[in-house]
């Protein structure tokens, strides 16, 4: 798993937290992801860039267990990982904040936080009181203004819903966090909050996949970018080594600047 090519540009020579190798998936003859590989190290934020339909969301949904890959392998901590459904991904500490937030709209914040891994009493029934108490603690840390613990999340504002989704992702000791357009529905203040949160999670050694349309966002937050085009990986580069224009060139033309590590989708010179 020691990928020599990557070590030169990343000071972290340890085993990557997660490595996706030669992943392919097609839907009805269309190669949504075609032979894509990507690695993520502890404490690293990897910005995944590309147009709509470039395959970045699909690639990441394979990691989160929402789609089953056709080909390729996934390694977590260097060991082969089998991820066939969202439960498997969570067992590996892979948590996802979806663009749509994927909240169950008609139950409250605590029920969403614990959806799929509810706390039970010794009688095997739901321990709603304990779940609400835990949720109050988590939300107090993330968003102290949050008070609407009894309301269905449908009735909450966009920012409040976002905090519930984030709380759900980080509450269970996530090691790998996938954020799909985390700031798309947020105002400037809330976007800044998400930025702070990412810095804090980095310090805790969590690896983050950041998917975004917004190249400025990515340059602000990510250590490294990986660009996809037509389902293929154009290349990866450390954000400090390249300019936004060069990154745009990768996204639009598939053209890798010399500082980047080209992938199979890179435009041949």
């Amino acid at each position: 798993m020691a990928d020599v090519a990557n070590n030169s540009e990343n000071p972290n020579t340890a085993t990557p937290l997660v490595a996706m190798k030669n992943i392919s998936i097609s839907f009805g003859g269309i190669h949504a992801v075609d032979n894509a590989s990507v690695e993520l190290h502890p404490g690293e934020v990897l910005g995944l860039l590309g147009h709509n339909g470039a395959g970045k969301s699909t690639l990441i949904k394979i990691l989160s267990g929402a789609y089953a890959k056709d080909e390729g392998e996934i390694f977590v901590d260097g060991k082969p990982a089998i991820i066939n459904n969202p439960r498997h991904a969570k067992d590996y500490g892979i948590e996802t904040i979806y663009q749509t937030l994927a909240l169950a709209d008609n139950v409250d914040a605590a029920a969403n936080l614990y959806l799929g891994r509810e706390l039970l009493t010794r009688w095997g029934t739901l321990d709603d009181a304990a779940m609400e108490a835990e949720t109050r603690k988590v939300m107090n840390r993330l968003n102290p203004n949050f008070t609407r613990f009894k309301d269905p999340v449908k009735q909450l504002s966009g920012g409040q819903r976002q905090s519930v989704a984030i709380a759900r992702a980080i509450h269970f000791n996530a090691r790998i966090l996938i954020m799909d357009e985390p700031t798309a529905a947020l105002g400037p203040a809330e976007t800044a909050q998400v930025g702070e949160l990412i810095q804090q999670l980095k310090k805790d050694g969590i690896g983050i996949f950041l998917i975004s349309h917004d190249i400025h966002d990515v340059f602000d937050l990510a250590d490294r970018i990986a660009v996809m085009k037509n389902g293929q990986m154009v290349g990866t580069a450390a954000t400090k080594d390249i300019t936004e224009d060069e990154a745009l060139g990768m996204i639009i033309l598939g053209k890798c600047p010399p500082q980047a590590t080209p992938g199979p989708g890179a435009l041949a010179d």
Binding site: A102, A104, D105, N106, G116, E118, R148, Q155, Q160
Partner: protein
């Protein structure tokens, strides 16, 4: 909650256009907040009382006799509601998960027919007529039949992705046809004597003493539930209801339970039955006649037990939590790791089991299995769930609402029979009430979110 902290939320959602809640809360709003009573529930109870009193007064003034609010009618009403109420509990979960089950009426007929064959044609040959094991084996056979058919329909819906509407529409025809084939259209009667008790009737009741004991047990349970709930809230430091609200809820709850016991006990056995019973047991009937109370009928107890069990399932277990999560956002539920296909299969299996329990009650009440048993029940069951506040958009519904809905439907039906409306008018009214109820519910929801 005052309006200031939630300003940002209020701007995102249509605010309540009621000035009373906007500025200074009225006494009624404060009352509702303190007691945490569901206003929908209050509305439904109000509607139910309106129907009851309306029919009674109509009978009183137009026909010269108010027959509705009599122990006899209320007792009959409770028995007639049972079968629909049991199925409505399952239909809530089906509709909450954005499915529908049109096959319950036919499935009820089919399982009743299977149970009729088992207890009338098959078992007496091996065990002898009136053997004590006939009724449990019969019910077991019925429940297994219902569960298997429900599971099969659930499988088609979940794993083969055939819409529930189509699968159960097919089921509506298939199981009705199948019940004809089972007995070539014959009516199978009479059912086992013990089995017949589950349908009610004078002997199928628990009597005055039994009813009082039950009432006392339920009253104690209410107190315990309130006490336990309060203790839990204090343990986690959550806000509690004011003491007067707790006492009021407990008092009203116990009052309703004991009042119901009293009404059920006020309905005596008919004279003929009393005479036969007295003769069999060597009791001398005094001059004024012997007053033997019915008390709660067994089918009512079955329905209440199902209602409590289903409420527990829906609100206190993982299964119930997943049902509502799937209903609110199926995709999110799946991404959270919930096996939605398996859940669908289980929900339809449960519906099959509840339908078979209803089949026991319905065929025991008729003391026979007939070809027409359960016809149009699917419509009443769906209507009961919907009147009870279950939303076709998914994710919203309560068991107690569905049971109340069943009671509303049955009250309308029997009320109109009592005051002598013919069946054409009955259908007309029930249909209109269903549509009106959903309209009012929409209105309520729009104002409350």
């Amino acid at each position: 909650m005052s309006e200031q902290p939630s300003q940002s939320d209020a701007s995102q959602h249509p605010a309540i256009p009621n000035p009373a809640t906007q500025n200074h809360d009225g006494a009624f709003v404060r009352f509702l907040r303190a007691t945490e009573v569901d206003t929908r529930l209050l509305g439904m109870i109000g509607a139910l009382l309106l129907i009851w009193v309306g029919f009674h007064l109509y009978g009183h003034f137009v026909n010269g006799f108010g027959a509705f609010l009599t122990p006899r009618n209320l007792w009959n009403l409770s028995v007639q509601t049972s079968s629909i109420a049991i199925m409505a509990c399952g239909m809530v979960l089906i509709i909450v998960t954005r499915h529908i089950d049109l096959s319950v009426g036919s499935l009820l007929g089919f399982t009743a027919m299977i149970m009729g064959v088992v207890q009338v044609w098959v078992l007496p040959q091996f065990l002898g007529l009136g053997h004590a094991m006939i009724w449990p084996i019969t019910i077991l056979a019925g429940v297994i039949t219902g569960a298997l058919i429900g599971a099969f329909q659930g499988f088609l819906i979940a794993y083969l992705s055939i819409p529930a509407f189509i699968v159960t529409l097919g089921g509506l025809l298939v199981w009705r046809g199948a019940s004809y084939l089972v007995a070539r259209g014959e009516t199978i009667a009479p059912v086992d004597q013990t089995f017949a008790l589950i349908g009610g009737g004078p002997y199928g009741t628990i009597g005055a003493t039994g009813s009082w004991i039950l009432g006392a047990v339920v009253s104690v349970a209410i107190v315990w539930l309130l006490f336990n709930g309060r203790r839990q809230r204090i343990r986690f430091g959550f806000p509690t209801r004011p003491m007067w609200a707790e006492l009021l809820i407990g008092g009203v709850g116990i009052g309703v339970v004991l009042g119901a016991v009293n009404v059920m006990n006020s309905y005596p056995w008919p004279k003929g039955i009393v005479r036969r019973y007295a003769a069999e047991n060597n009791i001398v009937v005094p001059d004024g006649g012997l007053f033997i109370s019915h008390g709660f009928a067994i089918p009512v107890l079955v329905a209440i037990t199902v209602g409590i069990a289903m409420t527990f399932l829906a609100t206190r277990t993982r299964f119930g939590r997943y049902v509502f999560a799937i209903g609110g956002n199926p995709e999110a539920a799946e991404l959270a790791g919930i096996n939605t296909k398996k859940m669908t299969l289980l929900i339809f299996t449960l519906m099959g089991v509840l339908t078979s329990i209803s089949a026991v009650v319905a065929s025991a009440r008729l003391k026979s299995a007939t070809l027409a048993l359960g016809q149009f029940d699917e419509l009443y069951v769906i209507a009961a769930a919907v009147i009870g506040g279950t939303s076709f958009a998914g994710g919203i519904g309560t068991i107690y609402g569905a049971i109340l809905g069943a009671l509303v439907m049955q009250s309308l039906q029997s009320g109109m029979v009592l005051i002598g409306f013919d069946s054409a008018i009955q259908q007309l009214v029930v249909g209109c009430v269903l549509v009106l109820a959903v309209f009012l519910d929409n209105l309520y929801r729009r104002n409350s979110t």
